[in-house]
């Protein structure tokens, strides 16, 4: 078997794994049956090591990227789970249909998005990808081929969406698509004076905008959270223009500079540059294409490389609406004392409901990126305590630090997920570094 050294995107984990790449249906069966433990790998673009485990088999699923059925009248599509989201959109957008719950990088596969229950930037309107999934076909080493839906094997269906690939290999997914009137966007930019101001504006969003999210500065503690809200709406004047096929080059997300280039000076410099670029140089309203709007990280891989060899930590927190004010007050106090180096801070709203380990509820989602150093790690430990105190959910797929203890306290359904999964697969055949770390 082919052994390869592999890194998680946040560079928290660097291990040797075995990889097999099936490209026939019988190979899914053959390779799965040949190994005691395994996990499925899509683009391997998760921040955390969710698609591999040291010395275990990863089934690289990228060859399963075909369209099995498309019903334009009923707006449904069945596709193999290894399809890249950009390729899925290349097909559906031609038909004025789309899948809104798109994470920020084009090479992410549909299977990965389902396993992580992704939410995208229109999460305040469309919630998570769960809302579009009609059925799933999985292959499990002991249970074999299983069709999952609300009507068939519902319990496993629910465990699979946001289940980190632990119920088996997601082979294909039937999706309900949503109409989109055009693929060119108008972006309006709005200033916000603080994180609370951003939350208030995002909470009272004008729903003619498809996406609304903020980018906030962190370098000036006195004006913490001052920043910009980006509102993207379909450009009605350009909605009849032909759609240009997205063709992203395969840039390595896993490269890195020798040293971490993010420190308080560079953070201040880049944040001021970015803020002034949009407030002084750019107009308040700009035309944008859908590649930039949907996949903001594509072409900006240097951002990740700049964290250097030690990598970074992303903490994404979902705060219940009634706790946002008090959470922000205490967060600002904590930041004033600890002065962590926060490279990126962004806010958006999510709608949804809690179940198992899904990063889903109705609330405000705060995203913070940190370089990995002692000061920031100490701060993040305090942030965990704050999260537990206020019933905040930290994203398991984003933050490689999270341990079983924190997750148990933040996810009411943790034990329920573990129990259900154990009943389905008591041998823990499908496992990853992530699942081992959080004890499921």
């Amino acid at each position: 078997m082919f052994k390869k050294k592999i890194n998680s995107l946040d560079r928290s984990t660097n291990v040797d794994i075995f990889i097999k790449r099936p490209d026939k249906y019988r190979e899914i069966e053959k390779f799965s049956l040949s190994s005691d433990n395994l996990i499925t790998m899509g683009a391997c673009a998760s921040y955390t090591p969710a698609s591999f485990k040291k010395n275990n088999l990863s089934l690289l699923f990228t060859k399963f990227d075909r369209i099995i059925n498309f019903d334009k009248a009923n707006k449904t599509i069945t596709v193999e789970a290894g399809i890249k989201l950009s390729n899925l959109l290349n097909f559906t957008l031609k038909e004025n249909l789309w899948l809104p719950q798109i994470p920020g990088y084009p090479s992410i596969t549909l299977g990965g998005a389902v396993a992580a229950n992704t939410h995208g930037k229109s999460s305040d309107t469309h919630g998570t990808i769960r809302n579009q999934i009609k059925s799933i076909l999985i292959f499990h080493k002991t249970h074999g081929w299983m069709s999952l839906s609300d009507k068939e094997n519902k319990n496993i269906f629910d465990l699979t969406i946001g289940g980190f690939g632990l119920t088996g290999t997601i082979v294909n997914v039937e999706l309900e698509l949503i109409e989109i009137t055009g693929c060119n966007f108008t972006t309006t930019i709005e200033k916000v004076s603080s994180a609370k101001d951003a939350v208030e504006k995002l909470n009272n969003k004008d729903f003619s905008n498809l996406f609304s999210y903020s980018w906030n500065k962190t370098s000036n503690i006195k004006k913490f959270g001052e920043g910009l809200i980006f509102n993207n709406k379909v450009n009605e004047n350009e909605k009849n223009l032909p759609i240009r096929k997205m063709n992203f080059k395969n840039k390595s997300l896993n490269k890195y500079f020798t040293f971490n280039l993010w420190n308080k000076y560079s953070i201040k410099f880049f944040q001021n540059l970015y803020y002034n670029y949009f407030t002084i140089y750019k107009n308040k309203t700009i035309n944008d294409n859908y590649e930039n709007v949907l996949f903001p990280y594509a072409g900006k891989e240097t951002y990740f490389h700049m964290y250097g060899k030690k990598g970074f930590i992303e903490s994404q927190l979902l705060v219940p609406l009634n706790k946002v004010d008090i959470f922000l007050d205490e967060l600002e106090q904590l930041i004033n004392v600890d002065e962590p180096d926060i490279v990126l801070f962004s806010i958006k709203k999510i709608i949804g409901k809690e179940l198992f380990l899904r990063f889903e509820n109705t609330g405000i989602c705060f995203t913070f990126d940190f370089s990995k150093n002692k000061k920031n790690l100490n701060f993040l430990e305090k942030l965990d305590v704050l999260s537990i105190k206020h019933g905040v959910k930290p994203s398991i797929i984003k933050d490689s630090r999270l341990n079983s203890n924190t997750i148990k306290k933040c996810y009411n359904d943790f034990e329920n997920f573990r129990k259900n999964l154990s009943e389905f697969d008591n041998k823990k055949i499908y496992r990853s570094e992530l699942s081992d770390r959080i004890g499921i």
Binding site: F2, R21, K24, Y25, R66, I67, F91
Partner: protein, 247 residues
């Protein structure tokens, strides 16, 4: 145009199907597993709106090949060209271990192609035109300890296609033959190779570009031609010494 692709479910065959369908050609696809064929068929029909038929045939089984050929003469009479991107390897393909797989490897890599062409050539002769495209391997350049029968059957295929070229040299039946180095397919995915693997997508594009040409014999990637040439001029006593050195 209508093309028959024998061995269409994965690797080069799948990329050829994709490239030809994208360029508005209708296809008949043949492969061993119905599940793979069904998915490829629906994918191409959805993406490119071309006509695709598919047939489940085990190319490593003489009976399966003969049964398909006997029952589908009408279907075969519609084709304008045939491509054989097939190859079968086995981990047991050594002098002592091969045993039960001898026929399968020979059939999949060589004899099934001969059987297909036995039926197809009369159709092309009658139409006075047609395209036959075969794919061999650089493994055919030299005998070896592993993949022994694979390289032998591919060498037989080389000879067979040279004979086809000689037969149809002054006709409208075009014979094209590609000798392939390492390709990024599942045959090579988990193997540590000294030289780089070439893209099957790029090869499929090249095959499409050359599809109107007659009597092609090409190495892909091209530099394998040079390696093959050197192998052919090295005296055998030196090759024997090389084998000893490697062992």
């Amino acid at each position: 145009m209508n093309y028959l692709i024998v061995g269409a479910s994965s690797g080069l065959g799948r990329d050829l199907a994709n490239t030809l369908s994208k360029n508005s050609h209708n296809l008949i696809l043949i492969s061993r597993d119905k599940r793979d064929l069904d998915v490829i068929k629906s994918d191409l029909e959805n993406r490119y709106k071309t006509k695709i038929s598919s047939f489940e045939v085990d190319l490593a089984s003489k009976d399966s090949v003969v049964s398909f050929l006997d029952n589908n003469e009408i279907k075969l009479s519609t084709i304008d060209g045939v491509l054989f991107p097939i190859g079968m390897m086995s981990d047991n393909d050594t002098i002592t271990q091969i045993k039960s797989e001898i026929d399968q490897i020979n059939d999949a890599n060589f004899l099934s192609i001969v059987k297909f062409l036995e039926k197809i050539i009369p159709i092309f002769n009658e139409k006075q035109k047609g395209t036959i495209i075969g794919f061999s391997s650089i493994a055919s350049s030299l005998g070896r300890e592993k993949n022994m029968l694979y390289s032998a059957s591919k060498r037989a295929l080389n000879s067979y296609f040279e004979s086809l070229s000689a037969t149809f040299v002054n006709t409208n039946i075009k014979v094209q033959f590609y000798i392939l180095g390492y390709l990024d397919t599942n045959l090579a995915f988990d193997k540590k190779l000294i030289l780089p693997k070439a893209s099957t997508k790029q090869l499929a594009t090249k095959v499409l570009k050359n599809i109107g040409k007659n009597n092609i014999k090409k190495y892909y990637p091209g530099w394998w031609g040079l390696i093959s040439y050197f192998i052919s001029i090295i005296p055998f006593f030196i090759i024997k010494k090389m084998f000893k050195f490697i062992k």
